[in-house]
């Protein structure tokens, strides 16, 4: 943003921009794929001869997949992301996951979002703990797309859940009445939520009024629309530093081929559109994807896969060198599988998240984000 732009911009924008030396913020975007993505059919180990044998009807044929390095290929539906791989911005981290053995969606999502596998009592989320205290935070410093605040962003640092930017307003000129009512309320919980709400309302209203037109078309899915709105806030230079979006439906116990293709098409198109929309700002945006666990190495009897263990995560924006599959391949031989059924974890998911956090803000206190955990750099 140039000085001239600042002069023309509304006062809040100038204030937000003035908070950093270069007038803009870096943004970390976490994407959660709920339901447990079948990582083995996403980052496909064609170099492991057991792959096809384990999946007689579900294996993606080598000739239709997108070859990455002779060993791994990408699912063909991820084609929109291939240019980002080739330009070395997109990286994959294989065989990632949690040290906790749970195969419950609820528990595994909870552990991944709290960032404390095996510990249920943790009240706040890893992404919230990654937010360092600051004197005058932007009201939209942390955004969670959707009706409820994501577990990852729950915690003491202010974070706002937003369905749509345009609709984020109090109707009938009642805003100031509600504002004074909540500001004075003896209900501490709702008083706090109210404060976050009204600050965000004013800022988002301004962003919505001033947003430039975009020629990029996003998918109409939750994820696509969520990322579109995150891009709008980033482009406004409003001080967004931590964002969360999710995509659901990855629990492919049955009829997997068509469903996975649809989900991956949406994922790839949404991220590709987001990257294009950000333009030059994309260099300041780190994206990391995650899903609560992987799926059984072997297909089940119903054209699907059941709850498994390790999975693949993706990183976009330079947290890890792109165009490369990181991590260690544990192998698919029976004795190499976790509990003789699932891909084993060789990289803790916290190492991937920590790498993304460090890239986003090197000053982050990782011991606070992942308590009782010793960070190991990704192999």
């Amino acid at each position: 943003m140039t000085r001239r732009h600042l002069l023309l911009a509304p006062a809040w924008l100038a204030r937000a921009a003035a908070q950093t030396p270069n007038g803009k913020k870096k943004t970390l975007v976490a994407i959660f794929q709920r339901g447990a993505m079948d990582g083995l059919n996403v980052l496909i180990p064609h170099g492991d001869k057991r792959y096809t044998a384990l999946r007689p009807t579900l294996a993606i044929p080598r000739e239709t997949a997108l070859d990455l390095d002779g060993f791994f290929s990408l699912h063909p539906a991820l084609k929109p992301l291939l240019p980002l791989w080739q330009s070395k911005q997109l990286a994959a981290i294989q065989a990632t996951g949690s040290p906790d053995p749970t195969r419950s969606h609820f528990d595994a999502q909870d552990f991944m979002e709290s960032g404390t596998p095996g510990r249920k009592a943790t009240r706040d989320g890893w992404l919230n703990r990654a937010i360092p205290p600051t004197a005058k935070p932007s009201p939209v410093r942390a955004l969670s797309m959707g009706g409820t605040l994501a577990r990852s962003l729950r915690g003491p640092a202010p974070a706002v859940a937003v369905n749509t930017i345009a609709g984020f307003q109090v109707r009938d000129n009642a805003q100031s009445d509600f504002m004074s009512m909540y500001a004075q309320s003896p209900d501490a919980v709702l008083k706090g939520t109210g404060k976050d709400t009204f600050e965000a309302i004013r800022l988002l209203e301004s962003i919505n009024k001033n947003k430039p037109a975009t020629s990029v078309t996003y998918p109409t899915s939750c994820l696509g629309q969520g990322l579109a709105q995150i891009a709008t806030v980033i482009k406004a230079g409003a001080g967004l530093e931590y964002a969360f979006a999710d995509t659901t439906g990855w629990d492919t116990h049955t009829g997997q081929p068509a469903r996975l293709e649809q989900l991956l098409t949406d994922l790839a198109q949404s991220i590709a559109a987001f990257h294009k929309d950000l333009g030059a700002l994309a260099g300041d945006v780190t994206i990391v994807t995650m899903s609560e666990f992987g799926r059984t190495a072997k297909e089940n009897g119903t054209r699907g896969t059941d709850h498994g263990h390790a999975n693949v995560m993706f990183s976009l924006g330079g947290a890890l060198p792109g165009g490369k599959v990181h991590g260690t391949w544990p192998g698919l031989e029976q004795e190499q599988l976790y509990q003789q059924r699932d891909l084993a974890v060789t990289t803790d998911f916290r190492d991937v998240l920590a790498t993304a956090i460090r890239h986003h803000n090197p000053a982050t206190d990782l011991a606070k984000v992942f308590p009782d955990y010793r960070f190991r750099p990704i192999a």
Partner: protein
């Protein structure tokens, strides 16, 4: 020094640490708030007439309370509610003829009926229990065939047992095609006996896992992954006959794994077919972890987000003693000092469905078409019958206190009181008895005095339109609590 010591002694004896009690009015309002979808002056009058305990007893026996005849008349107009699975499928084929009936009608009638019952039924506790148990045994409406199965699921598997026996309820859900389809058990087979493939190649653990984790014992309460697999083997063959035309529960012996199994350390003898699953259900109902888990979930919904362990212990003891008599577990909870403690008073955050239903009850609203209300519930994060995950919705405050949802609540309050919610009408002047002072409006809608801070905010307004003031009250912090 001596004086301080005496003062300390005095304070210790006069103010013991026991929970302070609610006064009579608070007790009545507390019961009405927690055991209905939002207190109305009629509920309060009924409680004051009968006394709290008798009123609770009556609500625990809904068959003794005449149902609202206007509600029954209205529900009669919803044709799909009475149809069997077979008739629903015949009427709503997957590819409807041009101008034919749309499957959306099924959802519309189901969701509207749930809302109307919550708002107008005289069996308020029963309706809360129906909501609780559907949520506990959640099925996602939009999962394929379930769109035509959920109507019967709620009507035939859930509602008859909401205050009955937990085992009947569990078994009814286990056998209903909606659940068999939702958690994939109908596809889980022992293919070894069919095609000579490797044993358990067609096993699907989804239902078995949620049965243990979400329906009975609770996660981490004494079972292992091996138990999940063994339970899945026990339920192979619990399937659906004729899914396309007339879905019914059917045990298919040929798909069942008849080998010996071990569940929770107990042997399941080989060759017993359907009895494997029945034995597992029996074991689970009588397992102490189930008594504790079900008691905890009930107390989290009705008493506090973090209910006192002493209360859970009492409820679990009743559950065990009565072999899962839900009514008696509820009675233990509702008559406990923990339920009536001041710490419980107005301490629960309303879930979105509770907030919306309570606003409609407080304003005596008439809903002729609930589409806009259903969209509102989606915006607040709780679309009816549409929780994808088998966990159901959480009753915890932190789940619902976020900016987007709070903003939706404020806007809904304003829209409702100004008659700007499509399909819904209120007569505010009549509801308020033509009262127009801010304090009177607040009292009429909250049934208790507003916080001084809230009162100040509505009294300091330059504009004194009663509808707007009523909207501010529905969006106030107090109205979000129960």
């Amino acid at each position: 020094m001596l004086r301080q010591f005496l003062a300390l002694l005095l304070s210790l004896s006069l103010f013991p640490a026991a929970p302070t009690k609610l006064n009579k009015d608070q007790r009545a309002l507390h019961a009405a708030s927690r055991l209905t979808f939002g207190p109305t002056p009629i509920d309060l009058a009924s409680i004051q007439k009968l006394g709290v305990d008798k009123w609770i007893d009556q609500q625990l026996h809904p068959e003794t309370i005449p149902e609202n005849p206007a509600l029954l008349e209205r529900l009669k107009t919803f044709e799909t509610l009475q149809l069997s699975n077979k008739d629903l499928i015949a009427k709503y084929p997957r590819k409807p003829a041009p101008g034919g009936d749309r499957v959306q009608t099924v959802y519309r009638e189901l969701a509207e009926a749930k809302l109307l019952r919550a708002v107008h039924s005289t069996h308020q506790l029963e309706e809360l229990m129906a909501d609780f148990w559907y949520n506990h045994f959640n099925v996602f409406f939009d999962k394929g065939a379930d769109r035509l199965l959920v109507t019967s699921y709620e009507r035939d598997a859930i509602r008859p047992h909401v205050l009955g026996n937990f085992k009947d309820l569990l078994l009814a859900t286990a056998k209903h095609p909606a659940m068999l389809f939702y958690l994939d058990n109908w596809t889980s087979v022992n293919t070894a006996r069919l095609r000579g493939r490797k044993k358990a190649a067609g096993l699907n653990e989804n239902y078995a896992r949620e049965l243990l984790e979400l329906h009975t014992m609770g996660v981490d309460n004494g079972y292992t992954q091996a138990d999940v697999t063994e339970v899945a083997r026990c339920f192979t063959g619990w399937s659906i006959a004729n899914l396309r035309e007339d879905p019914q529960f059917q045990f298919r012996p040929l798909l069942h794994d008849n080998g010996a199994k071990t569940v929770l350390g107990q042997a399941i003898l080989p060759g017993r077919g359907q009895d494997d699953g029945l034995q597992v259900i029996d074991m689970l109902v009588n397992h102490p972890a189930t008594a504790k888990f079900i008691s905890t979930k009930l107390a989290q919904r009705f008493v506090a987000d973090a209910p006192p362990p002493a209360l859970i212990a009492k409820m679990a003891a009743t559950f065990t003693k009565t072999h899962g008599d839900i009514r008696e577990v509820m009675r233990t909870m509702l008559k406990s000092p923990e339920f009536r403690a001041t710490s419980a008073y107005n301490a629960k955050m309303k879930m979105p469905f509770e907030m919306v239903a309570s606003a409609l009850r407080a304003t005596n609203a008439t809903v002729t078409n609930s589409l806009a209300i259903q969209q509102e519930l989606r915006a607040q994060g709780q679309p009816l019958y549409r929780k994808g995950e088998p966990t159901g919705y959480y009753p915890f405050a932190e789940e619902w206190t976020n900016s987007a949802a709070l903003l939706s609540r404020m806007n809904f309050g304003l829209a409702l009181t100004q008659n700007k919610v499509r399909g819904t009408r209120i007569d505010l002047a009549q509801t308020l008895n033509n009262k127009t002072k801010p304090i009177e409006i607040a009292q009429a809608l909250l049934l208790h005095a507003p916080a001084p801070e809230t009162l100040k905010a509505i009294e300091s307004k330059s504009e004194t339109n009663p509808a707007q003031i009523a909207g501010l009250i529905l969006g106030s912090p107090e109205f979000q609590r129960k």
